[in-house]
């Protein structure tokens, strides 16, 4: 009835096999089963963005995704994006600009920002604010984050004109 199901997926490039209850959401699967606690839980109803990860290359709310729905899929978390170096320049911009304080929103924010930067080479501040409008930060007031994303876009354009 509500027995565990076998799923196989890739997480940060690593093949994972697991037995999960259907009710288990992806955020809890990552945090509790795989001990990848960089994905944070802030609301469990899809509003705050702290749980943002990438599934099959696209950003999603992991609290609104069942683990069983990722069977056969590719999941990337903040740990993976960090280790691959994909966002090292964005992280450096965050550091220089102090675009994080408590850090709890930061994984989701970085993943959402990277999503924008992948699709938009020259986002203006309004676009940046809009793309991040689903990621709640209580500490920074957002301006430093917008600055850091804007700066990263500029640096990337310079690197690849």
């Amino acid at each position: 009835m509500t027995a565990p199901l076998s799923i196989t997926l890739h997480v940060n490039g690593e093949r994972v096999e697991a037995q999960v209850l259907p009710r288990l959401n992806l955020a809890d699967f990552l945090r509790e089963h795989l001990k990848l606690t960089g994905t944070h839980v802030g609301c469990e109803h899809g509003v705050c963005g702290a749980c943002t990860v990438r599934v099959d290359g696209e950003i999603v709310r992991s609290c609104l995704t069942l683990a069983v729905q990722t069977h056969g899929g590719f999941v990337e978390t903040i740990e993976g994006l960090s280790d691959s170096g994909e966002i090292v320049d964005l992280q450096e911009a965050f550091r220089q600009r102090n675009a994080l304080q408590c850090g709890f929103c930061t994984p989701g924010m970085l993943i959402a920002a990277q999503d924008l930067l992948k699709h938009e080479r020259e986002p203006d501040r309004a676009q940046i604010r809009e793309h991040l409008s689903g990621n709640y930060c209580r500490c920074t007031g957002y301006q430093a984050i917008v600055d850091a994303v804007e700066e990263t876009a500029r640096v990337r354009r310079e690197r690849k004109p």
């Binding site: 009710r23 469990e44 109803h45 696209e58 709310r61 069983v68």
Partner: protein, 293 residues
């Protein structure tokens, strides 16, 4: 909050999905994108016994155009609608509206089928379907059923679908020459549910609205066509005639009260939106000046 336990099935065909719905009826919920279902389940507002995950039904994906119609599979995600060349060309109202739905991460999962079947009175796509005179295509034990959008939405979270039917696609007439559209919604923050919104599809010729389907959302328990806008069709609109239409609109609406707005405010905002709609469609800025006396 953690969702309650449930049984889970992931059918590999539409007919198998329908079989499951027949078997479990009201005790089952269909899982498409999950962006409305899963929050409700996480909050334990819903605790279905069965979840029928239709995510594997690739036949429900895709957008096709032919015979002056555009057909959109139920599992087409909002993100797909936004990127779709066909939608941009043949149903631009839909593309415009979809940009207002929630946020990118939600749009990557949420589907048109899910949104229509969920029938949240404050959501964008149901109103668009009515404005576009769409037809909802459902599949049930008795086969395929075609339901006009104007008859599909029957109440808050209620549709004409039976518990055993699956929404599989929507069909819209492709936009004709001289067709124009308007979409706007008033929400406190980007991506929030609208307090009031307006989706309108029109045909504009010689500075007149030859056709206008203006449909409000957020003012009722379902999309509400603005009957009052009929007086603006096939005639030269003046500030006075617009003002009259806005008054008639106000009479026509009986909006609910909630934390965001009371009925009077929703009526007022609806008038503002209709004025802005007419003003934009006819390219007459002076008409959009708020319907101010």
């Amino acid at each position: 909050m953690k969702a309650s336990a449930f049984s889970y099935a992931r059918p590999t065909s539409v007919s198998k999905a329908v079989e499951l719905l027949v078997a479990h009826g009201e005790r089952a919920k269909v899982l498409a994108g999950g962006q409305s279902l899963l929050p409700a389940m996480n909050l334990r507002l819903l605790a279905p016994e069965w979840i029928v995950d239709i995510g594997g039904l690739s036949e429900l994906r895709g957008i096709s155009v032919g015979d002056g119609r555009i057909t959109i599979g139920a599992l087409t995600r909002h993100a797909d609608l936004l990127r779709s060349v066909e939608v941009a060309a043949h149903a631009p109202l839909l593309g415009k509206a979809t940009g207002h739905i929630a946020h990118p991460a939600i749009r990557n999962r949420g589907t048109i089928g899910g949104s229509l079947a969920h029938a949240d009175p404050a959501s964008e796509l149901p109103a668009c379907m009515v404005a576009l005179d769409a037809t909802v295509i459902a599949c049930g034990p008795a086969g395929e059923r075609r339901i006009p959008a104007t008859e599909f939405f029957t109440g808050t979270y209620e549709t004409a679908l039976s518990a055993a039917e699956l929404l599989v696609a929507v069909e819209l007439p492709a936009a004709s020459k001289n067709s124009a559209h308007f979409f706007d919604e008033l929400a406190r923050r980007h991506g929030d549910y609208a307090i009031v919104g307006l989706a309108a599809q029109a045909v504009v010729e010689n500075d007149r609205l030859n056709e206008l389907r203006a449909v409000f959302f957020g003012v009722s328990d379902r999309p509400q066509p603005a009957k009052a806008s009929a007086s603006l069709i096939k005639t030269t609109v003046t500030p006075a005639s617009l003002s009259q239409a806005l008054e008639a609109l106000s009479e026509e609406l009986d909006p609910p009260e909630d934390q965001q707005a009371n009925g009077a405010m929703r009526r007022h905002l609806a008038k503002i939106l209709l004025a802005r709609c007419v003003s934009e469609l006819l390219d007459r800025p002076e008409l959009g000046a708020g319907g101010r006396p």
